[in-house]
């Protein structure tokens, strides 16, 4: 299809007018804008847990569990020792009584 621009003089002002009429801003869809914003903010929020932070967190958990386990074992051993001591005293007093 021929659109007849050759018949009109294409001077600078006419081209500028055509560009003004044709190149108009376009809007993205509202759902795209809000979804992308949510994704970006989530990524930024997710950045707080970087791989190094995760490694540090895991190491802390392992150390804490090991310490807690060690503490629990010590208490258990202490209790067993106490029970053993009490049993020994009971036997000694029983032996002295007889």
């Amino acid at each position: 299809m021929r659109i007849g621009w050759n018949r009109q003089r294409l001077d600078r002002k006419r081209i500028e007018k055509l560009l003004e009429d044709s190149l108009v801003p376009v809007e993205p869809s509202p759902s795209f804008v809000s979804d992308l914003r949510a994704r970006l903010v989530t990524i930024r929020g997710g950045r707080v847990i970087s791989p190094w932070v995760l490694v540090l967190l895991l190491a802390s958990i392992v150390i804490f569990v090991a310490s807690a386990l060690g503490f629990a074992i010590r208490i258990l051993l202490g209790l067993l020792g106490l029970v053993g001591l009490m049993e020994r005293r009971r036997r000694e007093s029983k032996a002295l009584g007889t």
């Binding site: 299809m1 021929r2 659109i3 007849g4 621009w5 050759n6 294409l10 600078r12 081209i15 500028e16 055509l18 560009l19 003004e20 009429d21 044709s22 190149l23 108009v24 801003p25 376009v26 809007e27 993205p28 869809s29 795209f32 804008v33 992308l36 914003r37 994704r39 970006l40 903010v41 990524i43 930024r44 929020g45």
Partner: protein, 191 residues
């Protein structure tokens, strides 16, 4: 520096660590970046995809942004320009999607023949624009879609204001030649 510019720089500094600050920057610039990419690609879907990549890249590197008198928007446009250039390079072996679906608002024209002519002129002009070299397309989009002054276009394109004026003059001449070539091609084509 204007109050708006200093406010923006404050936001940029906060955006390195605060999600909401980056969200505010995003709100301010997303439409302009999308519009720019749309005119460079001619496709809504690709424009959305590339816009998302621009802001993801900006998010990763916003902490490295340094205030050297160049506005944040110029930095975003440069990211967009590079991504669009990569996009064109990746698609160079595939057929280029013509920017024909987009026709500016011609609702004011009521006569059917006049409307058809206006739409055809619009499509031809957009086709001619897309045949220009990338830097000239960029200049026209920044000037007519974004309505930016030459000084700001210069900051975005890394050229002086005088160089932009000169490039603009050459771009209009190229566009006129391109339109004439397309017209002559249409004359030789019986369709």
């Amino acid at each position: 520096m204007t109050p708006r510019e200093s406010d923006e720089m404050e936001l940029v500094r906060s955006a390195a660590s605060e999600a909401e600050a980056f969200g505010e920057l995003y709100n301010r610039h997303v439409t302009r970046i999308y519009s720019y990419i749309y005119y460079r690609t001619g496709d809504y879907q690709d424009a959305e995809d590339l816009t998302a990549r621009v802001f993801q890249r900006a998010l990763r590197h916003v902490g490295n942004f340094q205030d050297q008198g160049v506005p944040f928007s110029a930095w975003l446009y440069r990211i967009a320009h590079n991504l669009v250039a990569n996009w064109h390079r990746d698609r160079s072996r595939r057929p280029v999607v013509p920017l024909e679906d987009h026709v500016a608002d011609t609702a004011a024209i009521t006569h059917p023949e006049a409307l058809a002519l206006a739409e055809e002129q619009n499509r031809t002009l957009l086709r001619a624009v897309r045949k220009l070299p990338p830097d000239r397309q960029q200049l026209l989009i920044l000037k007519f879609v974004e309505r930016l002054p030459n000084a700001e276009i210069g900051q975005i394109m890394g050229r002086t204001e005088g160089a932009i004026k000169s490039l603009y003059h050459r771009t209009l001449n190229s566009l006129r030649d391109q339109i004439k070539m397309m017209e002559d091609g249409a004359m030789g084509n019986p369709d």
